[in-house]
Amino acid sequence: MSKQYKMLIIDDSQVILGTYNKFFSKKNYLVTTATNGLDGLKQIESEKEGFDVVITDIVMPNISGVGIIAIVKKKYPDTPVIAITGWGEHPEILALEASADKVLEKPIDLIELDKIVVDLIEKKKNKKADSE
């Protein structure tokens, strides 16, 4: 991948953040992390050109992943958001209702996640090219 895509990962587990960060940084993504919804939202607001992809946990302190999806999709409808849940059916439905592009259940296969990220960024690019 030549262009460095900007990725925001929000998860309240430092261990998970560290693992994702290491993996995706090696794959040439420019990774930003946040440990809760509010800090994630602040990152989104301060990133002027917007993130190319957002990966968020669902169950988190202050703003939940469902809240993050709803806010991102309202402000930046084209930004792909991947929701990650380990909490059964209900949050998954909510994440989909809030227009998450993909909902994945823990444990996450990082290679699979990477494929999904590439696919979603590609779709976004194509959509943008179509509209231009």
Partner: protein, 342 residues
């Protein structure tokens, strides 16, 4: 309308920050925290910072009404919907349309009504009692609770699906004893309010010694208790007597008579009592029995402590203990709790 959220602690700054960022989202919110911490103030601040300001802010206390009444209060009814429904009544959901519906004590909402609320949140529609027509609602739902809803889900007292739908944003207001640095600021704020409210009656600001004592007090009633203390200071004209009263009626947690019933120190002392080495009967030893006895003892001490503190006001005590009034009465009898005051 509502007062600002006063304080300089990290927690209060975080809450104010969160409010600024989420007040325009209209996403469902649950505000949690002990009785008297100011959950309604947080809800009012959310409303005041939202584009819904100027639209209705409607409050319903889910613990204050019996199930049937709460249902008709929330959704309204048509004329003739039931005996006594002599005219149509609009429900709070209809009245709050375009604005905010603040559901206080959501943890006390009966399960049947939780299902109905879930349906409204899923569909954005509701039907008044006796009506076949569903009405659309655009209401920002802010709920508050002093219960641990996760625990209530495990005990099947609260619907998990409703919890997830409400808990899109959560704001926890910590108890006052965990943020003593806010106390001087709260005092300054309320002194100004009460001075003007009570005909500019002069009110002495507390000196540093008094402030230090107030910071050490554990404030079971939180900000509401602090407000009451300030009103008493205004009436009595000084701090000394009130400070003494606070520490006499609820001695500091260090003294054995008033051990915080849920502290680890207290737990350890129970273990000591239950496991005196010389009288253990190995043939009748059972961890289950030890657990039962330990729970009984800690419950007895916790309930006695709160009852003494509230002057045996059972209704107030049940709220503080977050159990129903009926359960409290049962426990008083079952654990043979007696007043030292009577």
């Amino acid at each position: 309308m509502g007062p600002p959220i006063i304080g300089i602690s990290k927690e209060i700054e975080r809450i104010n920050d969160l409010i600024k960022h989420v007040a325009d989202t209209g996403l469902n919110i649950v505000i949690s925290g002990e009785t008297g911490v100011g959950k309604e103030v947080v809800a009012q601040n959310l409303y005041q910072n939202s584009p819904r300001l100027g639209k209705p802010f409607v409050k319903v206390n889910c613990a204050a009404l019996p199930e049937g009444l709460l249902e008709s209060e929330l959704y309204g009814y048509e004329k003739g919907a039931f005996t006594g429904a002599e005219q149509k009544k609009r429900g709070k959901f209809e009245l709050a349309n375009g604005g905010v519906l603040f559901l206080d004590e959501i943890g006390d909402m009966p399960l049947l009504l939780q299902s109905k609320l879930l349906h409204v949140l899923q569909s954005g529609e509701f039907a008044p009692l006796g009506s076949e027509k569903e009405l659309k609602t655009d209401t920002w739902l802010i709920a508050a609770t002093n219960h641990n809803l996760e625990l209530e889900i495990k005990e099947r007292k609260f619907r998990e699906d409703l919890f997830y739908r409400l808990n899109i944003i959560k704001i926890h207001v910590p108890p006052l004893r965990e943020r003593p640095e806010d106390i001087p600021h709260l005092i300054d704020y309320y002194i100004t309010i009460y001075t003007s409210k009570f005909n500019n009656k002069h009110m002495l600001k507390p000196g540093s010694g008094v402030l230090q004592k107030l910071a050490k007090y554990h404030w079971p009633g939180n900000v509401r208790e602090l407000q009451n203390v300030l009103k008493r200071v205004l009436v009595l004209g000084g701090w000394d007597e009130i400070i003494d009263e606070l520490f006499i009626s609820t001695p500091s947690p260090e003294s054995p008579a008033a051990v915080d019933p849920l502290s680890l120190k207290s737990m350890a002392s129970f273990g000591g009592g239950l496991l005196r080495r010389d009288d253990i009967q190995l043939d009748s030893f059972s961890l289950k029995e030890i657990r039962r006895q330990a729970v009984d003892r800690i419950e007895k001490e916790a309930i006695s402590y709160i009852l003494e503190k509230t002057g045996w006001n059972r209704s107030k005590a049940s709220k503080i203990l977050k159990i129903s009034y009926k359960t409290l009465l049962y426990k008083i009898q079952d654990l043979n709790i007696q007043s030292t005051m009577e």
